[in-house]
């Protein structure tokens, strides 16, 4: 009896989760059909993978911002760690594993591990801070990661992998290949990222976050977010759970970064700057903190929007800003919220939800 209760569709939470999975699957099927039947323009087809990567970024940052309640402004840093380590791994594995999907999957796993290590190292000092201070320091670490990658050289020759910082002093043997070239980044990447791979990554990320939220760890994250002192008083290890959320989020961002990078032939560290971090934060805030579906819809919409506004040339970013402001105001307007609440078929069953708003 209790068993059935755990997967009960009458619960608001459970319904929201299955609705999210359902919408993502439907959206994938539609996009995939449109893409294979060439209804989708080639620019749009090229954006499918970045959209998936941004969706994963949105889910990943939502874990930190929405569920753990800590503002992080350096999330693009983890994405770049993942992008560089993932792509480098893919290039190194090129001859060993010729089958692209396996190579992509392995590259994403390696990217996730490297980003998780970065998240852990950054988490040690950062998670001692609270609120605004934490946000500022994560911003700084995001910039530090960018600077390091801008000055990082890595090559491979018959003697193995060589590193150097600041300038190319790897002294590769003849026949060696410089993979990461400081500010030039990595070029000549094989575009092995595919839309189905992106879709699978989105689904895995959703599964990780949703399943975690309904477990002891997820409850601990949210308990610490809601009341730190009370969380300590019931014996929750604050440092451990904050670190867990931060590292997991970094790992997901790393995998997304690898997926993102392998959709382009060239990748540079400057792509993952402060603006990208803010863009990801905008996905989360626009979609609603803690709301995964909202976050991924916002990620898709805000990635497509600048492309769709291209016809307005000079006014493109102005319009983008105006649309963003109107959407933010609109979604916070009580009248508009009530109007949408009326459209919700489950509304009468959850009266306490409206009080929450």
């Amino acid at each position: 009896m209790t068993m059935r209760r755990l997967i009960n569709l009458k619960r608001v939470e459970a319904r929201r989760i299955y609705l999210t999975y359902f919408i993502v699957i439907i959206a994938y099927v539609i996009c995939q059909t449109m893409s294979s039947t060439r209804i989708l323009s080639s620019t749009m087809r090229g954006m499918l993978v970045p959209i998936c990567a941004y969706m994963v970024m949105s889910i990943s940052l939502n874990l930190v911002v929405g569920i753990s309640g800590e503002l992080s402004l350096g999330h693009a840093g983890f994405m770049s760690v993942g992008a560089f380590s993932g792509v480098a791994a893919a290039i190194l594995m090129q001859s060993v594993i010729p089958f692209a999907p396996v190579r992509l999957a392995l590259a994403m796993i390696i990217a996730a591990i490297f980003a998780a290590i970065a998240g852990f190292l950054i988490g040690i000092p950062v998670l001692r801070l609270k609120g605004d201070y934490l946000a500022i320091v994560t911003l700084a670490f995001g910039e530090i990661i960018k600077s390091i990658l801008n000055n990082f050289y890595m090559g491979m020759d018959s003697g193995g992998i060589q590193f150097s910082m600041l300038s190319d002093t790897t002294r590769l043997l003849p026949g060696g290949k410089l993979i990461i070239r400081g500010p030039m980044g990595i070029s000549g990447i094989q575009k092995i990222a595919t839309f189905p791979a992106g879709f699978i990554l989105v689904m895995i990320s959703l599964m990780i976050v949703f399943n975690l939220v309904n477990s002891r760890s997820g409850r601990a994250f949210m308990a610490i977010r809601d009341d730190r002192i009370a969380a300590e008083s019931i014996g929750l290890d604050i440092t451990k759970y904050k670190m867990m959320a931060f590292v997991l989020s970094a790992a997901m961002a790393g995998a997304a970064g690898a997926l993102f990078a392998m959709n382009y032939s060239t990748i540079v560290a400057n792509k993952f700057d402060f603006n990208t971090s803010i863009l990801i934060l905008v996905f989360v805030v626009l979609g609603g903190q803690g709301n995964m579906l909202g976050g991924i819809i916002a990620a898709a919409a805000l990635t497509i929007l600048p492309e769709k506004l291209r016809q307005f040339s000079d006014y493109r970013m102005l319009l983008y800003a105006v649309i963003l402001i109107v959407t933010m105001l609109g979604t916070n307007n009580q009248d508009i919220r009530n109007f949408f609440a009326k459209l919700n078929p489950f509304r009468h069953k959850e009266p306490e939800e409206e009080e929450a708003a």
């Binding site: 399943n211 477990s215 009341d227 009370a230 008083s233 019931i234 867990m244 009080e355 929450a356």
Partner: protein, 284 residues
């Protein structure tokens, strides 16, 4: 369920020594003190709580009652003195470790996890008795399901003590005030404490709610056979429920004893009502 307490005569420094079953008290405070901003908020505080005792901590506003709770739960580290919990020194422990060692508390200003459901508030407190790791949670492995089902069942059982099992899925923040206070007690109990600290559990409750609360505290005491210390301004509750009372004023213990002794203690009356002579002097 554990057998009912057998009352045996043992020498103890507990407020009511003859009611202790175990020779070893659950809590001993020895010369406990803290200086906050140059003021001795609590000074030379000695208290011993028997294993199944209900004790009251009373005193005028600002007497340092909540500070004592904060010292016991290590929200503040004491500047002097020792706290022995089940005979073990809690020196150097933090709030989390003290909770694991057996102290659970509620708060004067309610501190629930507002955005979690009622049952999740209780299950969050059971975190330390669940052992599955993150991977089993993500993959929904059998041990995840088994432990979650067990925890859910136990959470509902605990909620049912306070007749809250029907509210299990309601958001904690949208509960009525009295229910929020009760949920705090349930959450504290979910951590399996040997000592439960209740900080003004009846604050803001009407007389009938207070009477219900009194029954519930008795019920909890009976069921779990734990020690309970409560801070309360509602004297009818304190005098009815507590076996021993400790009175604080300006951070000092001014009286200890049974409710009857406290009610007739001149120092206590003075602390609450002021000295008669000084009152007359003011008038003159």
């Amino acid at each position: 369920m554990k057998p009912k307490t057998k009352y045996v005569q043992v020498p103890s420094r507990s407020i009511l020594p003859d009611r202790d079953i175990a020779r070893e008290p659950v809590l001993e405070c020895i010369n406990l003190g803290i200086t906050l901003g140059g003021i001795k908020a609590v000074d030379n505080f000695n208290l011993t709580i028997g294993r199944t005792e209900i004790a009251g901590l009373i005193g005028p506003n600002g007497a340092g009652k909540t500070t004592v709770f904060n010292l016991l739960t290590k929200v503040y580290q004491p500047t002097t003195g020792t706290i022995l919990l089940n005979g073990k020194d809690t020196h150097g422990m933090n709030t989390m470790q003290v909770n694991k060692a057996g102290i659970a508390r509620t708060f004067q200003n309610i501190r629930l996890f507002k955005n979690l459901s009622v049952v999740d508030n209780v299950k969050a407190a059971m975190n330390n008795e669940m052992h599955y790791n993150m991977l089993s949670a993500i993959l929904r492995l059998p041990n995840y399901r088994r432990e979650e089902v067990a925890a859910h069942r136990r959470a509902l059982k605990l909620l049912s003590i306070f007749d809250m099992q029907d509210m299990a899925d309601v958001r904690a923040g949208s509960l009525p005030y009295g229910a929020q206070r009760r949920l705090e007690i349930v959450r504290a109990l979910a951590t399996n404490p040997s000592l439960l600290l209740l900080d003004e559990p009846a604050a803001g409750m009407n007389p009938s709610e207070t009477a219900d609360l009194m029954d519930n505290i008795r019920k909890v005491h009976e069921m779990f056979q734990i020690a309970i210390v409560l801070i309360e301004h509602d004297m009818s509750l304190v005098m009815n429920i507590c076996e021993g009372i400790c009175v604080l004023n300006f951070g000092q213990v001014i009286a200890k004893g049974t409710p009857e002794e406290i009610q007739s203690n001149p120092a206590v009356i003075e602390a609450y009502l002021g000295r008669q002579s000084s009152h007359k002097e003011k008038e003159a």
